[in-house]
Amino acid sequence: MPDTHFYRYDDYDRTLVGERVEQFRDQVRRRIAGELTEEQFKPLRLTNGLYLQLHAYMLRIAIPYGTLSSRQLRKLADIARKYDRGYGHFTTRQNLQLNWIKLEDAPDALAALAEVDMHAMQTSGNCIRNVTADHYAGAAIDEIEDPRIWCEIVRQWSTLHPEFSFLPRKFKIAITGSPNDRAAVRVHDIGLRLWANEAGDVGFEVIVGGGLGRTPMIGKTLREFLPRDELLAYLEATLRVYNRYGRRDNLYKARIKILVHEIGAEKMREEVEAEYAAIKDGALKLPVETIEAIARQFAPPALPHRAAVVAEVEGLKLEDRDFALWLKSNVAPHRMAGYRIVTASLKPAGAPPGDASAVQMEGVADIADAYSQGEIRVSHEQNLVLPHVAVEDLPAVWRALGRLGFAEANVGKITDIIACPGLDYCALANARSIPVAQRISNHFAGLARQHDIGDLKIKISGCINACGHHHVGHIGILGVDKNGVELYQLSLGGDVDFGKTAIGAILGPAVTADKVVEAVDAMVHTYLDNRGDGERFVDTYRRIGAQPFKERVYAAV
């Protein structure tokens, strides 16, 4: 088995995770014995990733910065088979959810996770959540620095943080190391963007107070350039200001974005900078040796030289239209010539977005071992990524993924839909998301048509909490409940691309579930009839405005 090229636990990490499992085992025992009330137990299980959903407990497993080894993915398959119904759901936060866990099994499932250096800590609760990153990290052609180095530093600092485990609300941090932001850093509680200044020094742009949910907001830049070794001090200062002054009187106004909005970015900056000034030379300053030791673990794999142009690939491209389309949509440039980044689409026509069976997980692990240095990434778009595939191996990888049902050439296209679990699983949802996604997916299943329509991101949430990121979908679909009827509100023009980040605008009245497909179809036709040269759906919308879309949609439904 290949070595991993990302952070490996040492005895300190293993000890802490093991002790955490034992602590939780005791808490579960006390809950079952009646020594803890559900109210007392709830925050304890939540910070161990255990939710109580509509039908059962759900375990949300952290996949830090979306990076997995084949060994870890096989273990996830194992756990899904042993403690669940043999499948899992990859989420928009690069986590894996198992939907049918039994309370009494949860500690054993966590112990099994710990065997492969994984945990479910802080995947829920009002604490600092699992930190997310660019899913192309370490392989992207446009990368300035691997953001996972910093995600790991933040993971350690935030894990069981004694001061920040009972925040006003959950807290999500995302880090990107590329100018082309694939981590949606402007819509996180804190977004960090690595960039190099004129002197060539690399530091962070610190963006605070973005978020989706009930009140979508684009984050404000508190710091244009923060030296890297001061990151933890700056984060601690920001979190302290939030912990002290964030609202706690109203659940819906408790995120940091509301604090930033109410006191203003200027005042927020003053508060954070004052706190930061008091601690920046203290124990949180990162010694260069510490940074280097972690960075070394993310050293890119030594990839052997492989041919950049391969006759077999060129031939197959001409012979097989599906392969040619797949190369276009599911294969991205790699920092090394002769290699590509391959996205395995977890969105085959008509399937629930992001679901994978244990067999499929094991299949992807096998493919990763054979062709991608044993490494897999989870994207926030709910797909799996093979980060280091040689051009020569693309036909073999395409065929192997095809056997798993993961070779649909639809990444970034209309059927590459993001959807939350919705009312089929989630206790918070007002409406179903997955069946709506499946209907759209079936309607637009033809690949040639999808590629003609081009890049179009549909994002579906089953309630205002916006786990499906509908606010930043080119087409956003939000399920609402109106007197017991599931209706879907449509919005247009959302975007997460850096520099273009925008919240979509609501198009008009909500439509019933059976009209969503017609509505989307009408939007697509409006685009096709109006698009200019090289214009994507969202570009046309920006140019011509909502009115033509609105007229056609409401004539159709």
């Binding site: 069981l160 485990s165 040796e289």
Partner: protein
């Protein structure tokens, strides 16, 4: 509410609510709401023997920040007591933030306090208990065995 302390004796002084204490700042014991500005105690921390911090609900974590500021920034060394929603499962966090006495109704609290410091033998972040972080321990290990 029963009082538990790691040290031999907790003070029996009656703490004054912050507004009353401001009228009588010579009194060595004060109780703060979690919205009271701890910074205002700066000139007095040398004299204070008891500061009580309130958790209106166990899920309201503002007093963790107050505790750290009192210990770390203002250098307070007297008794720091948690009251209100104080449950045994918060003890590892509270101890790290500098609390050393606790008012709690919860059954089994005393036993839990006795072992709370041993639940986690590794910590990742500096706090007010002066424990060496994993990152520091790694650093010193590397310096002893530079090849590792």
């Amino acid at each position: 509410m029963p009082l538990f302390s790691e040290t031999v004796s907790a003070t029996i002084l009656e703490p004054l609510p912050f507004v009353e204490w401001q009228q009588r700042p010579a009194w060595p014991a004060v109780s703060l709401a979690n919205t009271d500005p701890v910074e205002d105690l700066a000139p007095h921390v040398g004299r204070l023997r008891l500061i009580v911090l309130n958790f209106p609900k166990f899920s309201d974590g503002r007093a963790y920040s107050q505790a750290r500021l009192l210990r770390g920034r203002l250098g307070y060394t007297g008794e720091l007591r948690a009251t209100g929603g104080v449950l045994q499962d918060q003890l590892p966090f509270m101890l790290r933030c500098g609390f050393d006495s606790f008012e709690s109704d919860q059954k089994g609290f005393e036993e839990a306090l006795a072992k709370a410091r041993t639940l986690f033998s590794v910590v990742y972040q500096p706090a007010e208990d002066d424990r060496a972080t994993a990152s520091l321990l790694r650093l010193s290990r590397r310096n002893v065995h530079p090849a590792v």
